[in-house]
């Protein structure tokens, strides 16, 4: 009953899918498929490359959501910096990656069970929420997303304090990373 009520506005009228929905489904399939390859493939370097593919899918989702700045930041920071850092780390620890031995630990089925239960729990929790299947209002033309975001990040009435704290965190983490990875003579 509940499920039928939820699906009715999407499929009840038998209207064909819009182009946006088709693009969303294609991107979602690519993202989830790449994510599955990240966690299951044996070669860790391939896993890092599949992560790049999944991150591109998420960037496309940001573009679909009209969050253009997030899409660009996703490509520049996640793919340009974080994924490359992963590939560097894989190369620096190469000797362990000769694909011998199991890639999953003994209790991997427990992990799979917990992941499935998490998904089922999230799904049922979301389904009981009244705003679950609402659709977005039309995006106002000429809405300056990036300008608004910049204002919000540096405005004292908005998020300047979290922004500065995040920059201090980043500085501390980078100093810590140099210290941890430093070789003492």
């Amino acid at each position: 009953m509940h499920c039928e009520l939820r699906k009715e506005p999407q499929f009840g009228k038998r209207n064909p899918m819009t182009a946006q929905q088709i693009i969303f489904l294609a991107v979602a399939l690519a993202t989830l498929g790449s994510a599955l390859m990240v966690v299951t493939t044996r070669n860790i370097l391939h896993a890092a490359l599949w992560l790049v593919s999944a991150l591109f899918g998420v960037a496309a989702l940001y573009a679909l959501l009209n969050a253009s700045f997030l899409a660009v930041v996703q490509v520049v920071i996640y793919i340009g910096a974080i994924a490359i850092l992963f590939i560097f780390a894989v190369m620096l620890t190469r000797r362990d990656l000769r694909d011998q031995g199991p890639q999953m630990n003994r209790n991997w089925w427990g992990g799979a069970l917990i992941a499935l239960l998490t998904f089922a729990g999230l799904f049922s929790l979301l389904q009981s929420w009244s705003g679950f299947s609402k659709s977005a209002a039309d995006f106002p033309s000429g809405f300056d997303t990036v300008g608004r975001l910049g204002d919000a990040l540096i405005s004292p009435n908005a998020y300047v304090l979290p922004f500065e704290v995040a920059s201090v965190l980043l500085l501390a983490a980078l100093v810590g990373a140099v210290y941890v990875a430093f070789t003492r003579k």
């Binding site: 998420v58 940001y62 974080i82 780390a89 998904f119 922004f163 990875a181």
Partner: protein
């Protein structure tokens, strides 16, 4: 128009896949890859709630950017730890890094 539920289901699935990677993989770098997937799932949710709520409130996008910064910090420290452990123990398999076990 895409309903909000599609984004929420997608990000729940992405989060669960990342959780499986964190719990099941033996390689420490692969565990960090799983953490990245989970952080991305959270970010998709934040951007979706910004778009489907009041777009004049930029909180969703601002939080997503802070998650980016935290993810960069986490990866930098995590990979530095992995490389440091690899230099000392010559392994990055998570079950073999048991210096704290007694």
């Amino acid at each position: 128009m895409i309903p909000l539920s599609w984004y929420l289901i997608l990000s729940a699935a992405l989060f669960s896949i990342g959780l499986f990677g964190v719990l099941a993989r033996r390689n420490a770098i692969a565990i960090l890859l799983g953490v990245e997937l989970m952080l991305n799932a959270v970010n998709v949710n934040l951007a979706a709630f910004w778009r489907y709520g009041d777009i004049n409130q930029m909180a969703g996008q601002v939080f997503a950017i802070i998650v980016f910064a935290v993810a960069a910090a986490e990866v930098a420290v995590g990979l530095a730890l992995v490389i440091s452990v690899y230099r000392r123990r010559n392994t990055i398999i998570a079950d073999e890094i048991d210096m704290l076990k007694w």
